[in-house]
Amino acid sequence: MATFSSRRLTKELVALREECPAGITLLSTEDLKSWTLSLELLGESLFKGEVFALRFTFGSRYPIEAPEVVFVVNDKYKAPMHPHVYSNGHICASILGSEWSPVLNTSTICITLQSMLASCKKKERPEGNDRYVKNAPLSPKNTHFLYDDDSV
């Protein structure tokens, strides 16, 4: 199974090095397990001018299993203020959980998250952010999210 993920990730990496979607840049790809990409929104939106970073962590069962995707929170980057993004960087997005499909990839995930941010109407944290962040597992993959809002 390890070759399964590494072969597909190698292909994705070649494609990303050739051309990233608009607003997406490869920051680091030390190995085939963890990549960091920067994400910004081009065009009018509440997040205009802000730059975020996404950390992808791929397991050996990728793409049969979804990667772990979080917004980087450190001295340089903050998680976007969005009703589906917790302040620790965890993202509540169905495609990273129950609606994952193996035909999705790094590029399509980035584009989906860009559009999630772009359709944001009010910059706010999810309800119960503080409580979630205090008790959150290290990986959001261990969180059982309920997806109840299709509008943003």
Partner: protein
């Protein structure tokens, strides 16, 4: 033993019949790749070494095509909910084409 091939004569080539029109392979076309492993249909899934009958394609009733091994890996996980990765319709294998 080391064998060096100096010359060969190709006498035939094969392709899976994925029901595409037009003659001549359209290299690098999205439609010629398995959406799960991103390798070409004529190649094999990442767990096989040799393309051909041992690593066949599988056709869905929804018309989507994958390497059989790739699709079965997906369908075997509960997360798949037995849905086609492309359109999330219930997966049904097309028996003949």
């Amino acid at each position: 033993m080391k064998v060096i091939v100096h010359r060969w004569n190709a006498i035939a080539q094969w392709r899976w019949d994925v029901g595409q029109d037009g003659d001549g392979p359209d290299e690098d076309s999205e439609e010629d790749l398995c959406g799960i492993c991103r390798a070409s249909y004529e190649g094999c899934c990442p767990t096989c070494k040799v393309p051909g009958d041992d690593c066949p394609l599988i056709w869905g009733k929804c018309s989507h095509v994958f390497h059989m091994h790739c699709l079965l890996k997906w369908i075997a996980t509960p997360a798949s909910k037995s849905q086609c990765p492309m359109d999330r319709r219930p997966w049904g294998t097309r028996k003949s084409r």
